[in-house]
């Protein structure tokens, strides 16, 4: 066990494992893997790739929220707004202007940075619960704007992707694997950006602000500027996830900016494990697949045959996910990743004393 631990501590090993994971994920569309009960079909089929790509988008979104909540300790209830800015922004730019995909993405990104900067600067005048409320209110305003302007956003119907200026290799159902590879590329980039931010000086200050803001201020460091930076980075990454969502789903509906959607992101991050990058990724993937599977379960004959007391709760995926979430908050403070760590640690108690000392300090 200690040998594995020592190996794990080497950066080269960790990079190698992460690289192998990415290569494996990239090879999935070329393989014929069947995971019964987890995936709806073999991994090369468009339906399965769609779900896998969606789970990667949710993982990227969870990573972006991790920058706010996990790193900087900002409990935002309006994160869905920036996801929607990405999705709707790109959709509207593609529909209204003759821009190609790449310039359109650039323009949307600039818009997202601007919106996040302005709203972030206002919201960050307050902290804690008030901050949560202000971000919730802004997201609500965004939701109202989107629903009330059907001429621009499609209203309740949602906005379809105007495919005229989107490259052909990203459009058809048969091209789902290209979208999957794009999603994989994006999540790798997002992961590296988040990692870079966490390890930068600003990231360390952000983490310090999370622990004790007064102390940071006493040390003469600027908490507000760092928080704003984290807010803008997190929101921009969410917009990136939103743009990818638009391409993958060929459209976006107002659900993407609802308060429920923000709560979903929060649920994902907490399920995976607050404060851990891999937790956010694992949470995003598990949540999406669980959601799909539970929806399939809800429609199955097996559930239909049950008495009402069991049938009603089981046919509501959100009820099961919500209950699971409560149980994780109550009994598993570290989320799924925390649980894995704990199991590993229990086994490691057979290791030498120095190892144990290192862990406790």
């Amino acid at each position: 066990m200690t040998a594995i631990r020592r190996l794990w501590a080497k950066p080269a090993v960790r990079w190698g494992l992460a690289g192998a994971l990415v290569v494996f994920a990239a090879a999935l569309p070329l393989l014929d893997l069947v995971v019964p009960g987890v995936l709806p079909g073999p991994t090369y089929t468009p339906g399965t790739l769609q779900i896998l790509a969606l789970s990667l988008i949710f993982a990227a979104l969870a990573l972006s929220y991790h920058v706010l909540f996990g790193v900087s300790g900002m409990l935002s209830f309006g994160h869905a707004l920036y996801f929607a800015v990405g999705a709707y922004g790109l959709g509207i730019v593609l529909e209204r202007t003759g821009l190609d995909l790449l310039p359109a993405v650039g323009l949307t990104l600039a818009g997202a940075i601007l919106v996040a900067g302005v709203l972030g600067a206002i919201s960050l005048r307050v902290s804690g619960i008030s901050f949560a409320m202000v971000t919730l209110a802004f997201a609500q305003a965004g939701s109202v704007l989107i629903r009330r302007n059907p001429g621009v956003t499609g209203g309740e119907e949602g906005l379809g992707l105007a495919t005229a200026n989107v490259p052909d290799w990203l459009v058809g159902v048969a091209d789902t694997r290209n979208l999957y590879w794009l999603a994989l590329g994006v999540i790798v980039v997002v992961f590296l950006v988040v990692r870079w931010f966490e390890r930068s000086r600003a990231g360390h200050v952000a983490a310090a602000v999370r622990e004790n803001e007064l102390r940071v201020r006493v040390l003469g460091l600027p908490p507000l500027r760092v928080k704003l930076l984290a807010f803008v980075i997190g929101s921009t990454l969410a917009a990136v996830a939103g743009m990818l969502f638009l391409l993958l789903q060929s459209g976006v509906t107002p659900r993407a900016v609802s308060a429920d959607f923000t709560l979903t992101i929060l649920v994902i991050v907490v399920l995976g494990g607050v404060g851990s990058r891999w937790g956010a990724v694992v949470g995003g993937i598990i949540y999406t697949i669980l959601d799909q599977r539970l929806t399939a379960l809800a429609g199955s004959e097996w559930v239909d045959a049950l008495p009402a007391v069991l049938r009603i709760p089981l046919s509501e995926p959100l009820f099961i996910l919500g209950t699971l979430f409560i149980l994780v908050v109550l009994f598993l403070p570290g989320g799924i990743v925390g649980l894995a760590g704990r199991v590993g640690r229990r086994r490691a108690t057979t290791g030498d004393a120095r190892d144990r000392l290192e862990e406790t300090t």
Binding site: L75, V126, I129, Q140, L266, S315, G322, T323, V329
Partner: protein, 291 residues
């Protein structure tokens, strides 16, 4: 003139609803520092149970309405107290986790209501008088607005009397001021937590039954949509302040009605703008104490 009167009284009626939700939120936050996302679910559950009660008793009698209100209040109080005892109590002093648990409860319960009563709104009937209008200064005002205002004032009075003249009220007021001092004096504040949750739940329950008459239907989304405005009201009024919640409810609701009519349906946006302005000028809210 008649339009102004109509908007004003309708605004007061909506403000009464906001107050019924926000009073509980504000008391709970003031005493325990918990932002209760499940408050909307208490309201929705009470609305559905009140509707079922009224249906069983014949929907258009006053007795059925009174029974619905009682059932709603009782259901709200019981579920709220249960939530406090089973979920919140385990996580004292861990505010983020407490918020998360109530978020999970809100998600799960709304899904459960979807499963039991369906996602479509259920249209309701009440006593015939509620559906009629009364003419005041040329404005034809739906009668249910008066009922809402009267009951909200009654609830405000009852809560104020409870806080002023009972032993638990004293403990709660002291707890809002300085909880650790109350604990140090050997008083078990925890029981007061349950009481506050029950009071807030009862107010939300009454609000739920009344909201179903105000909007004319019950749906699983009823609580969630009111909750967001109740949050805004609570923050504008100052977290933890009961008079703040009352004043802010009226201001927000009346402003919303006027903006909806005169500024082309922008009521929701104006309210958000008001929140932003209040927080920029006075981050602790209108009646909040300095942090």
């Amino acid at each position: 003139m008649s339009t102004v009167v109509l908007l004003l009284i309708t605004g007061l009626g909506l403000g009464a609803l906001y107050f019924l939700v926000a009073s509980g939120l504000s008391l709970i936050y003031g005493l325990m520092g918990v932002l209760n996302f499940a408050h909307g679910s208490f309201l929705t559950l009470a609305a559905f149970l009140g509707w079922e009660t009224a249906r069983a008793l014949g929907a258009d009698s006053w007795g059925a309405l009174a029974a619905a209100l009682l059932v709603g209040a009782a259901a709200g109080a019981l579920v709220a107290a249960g939530t406090e005892l089973l979920l919140i109590r385990r996580l004292y002093e861990r505010h983020i986790e407490q918020v998360l648990v109530t978020v999970g409860l809100a998600l799960a319960s709304v899904a459960l209501f979807d499963g039991i009563w369906g996602t479509d709104p259920q249209f309701i009937r009440g006593p015939a008088w509620l559906a009629e209008t009364t003419e005041i200064l040329g404005a034809r005002i739906p009668n249910n607005r008066f009922l809402l205002i009267a009951i909200a004032i009654l609830v405000l009075l009852l809560i104020v009397l409870f806080l002023r003249f009972t032993r638990y009220g004293l403990i709660i007021r002291a707890g809002v001021e300085n909880r650790s001092m109350v604990t140090a004096l050997g008083i078990d504040v925890r029981r007061a937590f349950t009481v506050v949750f029950a009071i807030g739940g009862a107010a939300a329950g009454i609000g739920g039954v009344l909201a179903s008459h105000y909007f004319g239907y019950v749906s699983p989304q009823l609580g969630g949509s009111l909750l967001i405005f109740a949050f805004i009201v609570t923050v504008i009024g100052g977290l933890g302040s009961l008079p703040g919640a009352a004043v802010a409810s009226v201001v927000v609701a009346v402003l919303q009605q006027f903006a909806n009519f005169y500024l082309g349906g922008t009521g929701d946006l104006v309210v958000v703008l008001l929140l932003a302005v209040v927080l920029l000028v006075r981050p602790r809210g209108l009646f909040g104490r300095a942090a």
